[in-house]
Subunit: 273 residues, 2 copies
């Protein structure tokens, strides 16, 4: 059983003030960790733009203080706020993106967390053809996966809907990428909001991805908390159970009507279905 | 019964080569009209960037030749390819957008078609506040509705998902706009692709909009033809029937795997459910 009393629920928290709208919690770190723990979450997914700006010891102590695990580290703010990407035409930008992801490895190791490859993969920019972008992406993912491997750290790429990127929108493309990267510690993060737009049948995509699903994001069809839209989370839960998914269910949704209400409604809803 | 043998099915056709990806048919006009009619469609929704560029008599004759009605005229290419909008900070651009929509009135009158207000409403541009944009939008819609009224022509604004515009994303906002515009010949065009992203419960939004629904677009959750995704068109059909919707069901979806296959699969699917 994935949901219910025994499932592992976390929620996204940005360690810096961020523009990214779907990071549910932003602002003072300790206040937010306390709030998340008090709602019953067992984990917190940390969105970290640049590990250099984070006091890792302090962060680790705080999560311990509130008894929160960190299942995954989000890295997309480096794209959103600095423009770093694996597929930029400028080789210096690509290299900086690779170095940035590598710099997350010690953080991930400390928390035994997965490193998320979201928007930092970039988009196919004007003047770049699709296959060139894919080659850069694969090269970067191989380099990062290889660097993470000795520490036992896994990377998970998130298929993201067509409006946010032109590279890897759905599960089929994600699985094809996994084949081409060819690293055991590289898999997928699937997100129900993106799946609602991109997957023909969400449950079928979950089954096809199977053991390649390293991490899982929940938001409802409108990117509000689960229960606020029309996704069938009962059926999604059953499918995750049936494929033996053992990972976390992490809430990444809009802070509406406000962060705390959304986080509370989500956990109540997910615990009861 | 809205779907089934008695429902009125149309499909979007661009009269000019257009960038807009979800216009199913593009290219040679007569070839496409023949193709659409041969598939069993009773109507064709025409996307027209600028009525000045269209030979109206010829267009009318062609649709008569293939026995196709024209339930609605799409106007969004004026935004996509010329940047015209009701909410541009430049008053000349706003005025040009209003004049463009007014220039569609004789076309709409010839076909007894609805004029669609899609992306030409614009987005809230930098330096413009939301309420100012809404005021410009309402003013433009009042002016256009008033000009269309003596010809018995109706205007329908399409709520469009958050990624494509910041103005009027959902049914609630659409109904609020209708109140503020206050014209009997101004209503809504609802589109299942956008509703999948924006409406909490699609059927509930249909019921709330009721008689204000002037026109209806179908595409599946992934913007492919109906049947290619996970929307429940049976339930949508039942709801449209229950609220007494008498308008057209118009296919606006991606030409995938190709235009003709998509159009064919859509009509077969919609006729059988």
């Amino acid at each position: 059983m994935v949901y219910g009393r025994n499932m592992k629920l976390s929620i996204v928290l940005s360690t810096q003030t961020a523009q990214f709208q779907a990071a549910t919690f932003k602002g003072d770190l300790e206040t937010n960790l306390a709030s998340i723990a008090s709602l019953g979450y067992e984990g917190v997914e940390l969105a970290i733009r640049d590990p250099k700006l984070v006091d890792l010891d302090h962060l680790y102590e705080l999560t311990c203080k509130y008894n929160l695990k960190v299942p995954a580290i989000g890295t997309g703010q480096a794209w959103g706020e600095e423009g770093l990407s694996f597929t930029d035409p400028d080789p210096n930008v690509r290299q900086a993106a690779i170095e940035r992801i590598k710099s997350h490895i010690p953080v991930a190791a400390r928390f035994e967390a997965i490193i998320i490859i979201g928007l930092i993969r970039g988009v196919v920019k004007p003047g770049v053809n699709d296959e060139q972008a894919m080659k850069w992406l694969i090269q970067a993912l191989r380099e990062c996966s290889e660097a993470a491997q000795p520490c036992g750290i896994r990377l998970a790429l998130e298929p993201i809907n067509r409006y946010e990127t032109t590279l890897i929108n759905n599960a089929t493309q994600g699985l094809e990428l996994i084949k081409r990267v060819g690293a055991d510690n590289f898999g997928l993060l699937l997100d129900t909001f993106h799946m609602n737009i991109e997957e023909s049948v969400i449950e079928e995509s979950l089954r096809v991805c199977g053991r390649h699903i390293f991490h899982f994001h929940v938001a409802d069809s409108n990117r509000w908390y689960p229960g606020a839209g029309h996704l069938n989370f009962g059926s999604i839960r059953e499918t995750l159970t049936s494929i033996g998914y053992q990972g976390w269910i992490s809430g990444e949704f809009l802070p509406k009507p406000d962060a705390k209400t959304a986080a509370q409604k989500s956990i109540i809803y997910l615990r009861q279905i």
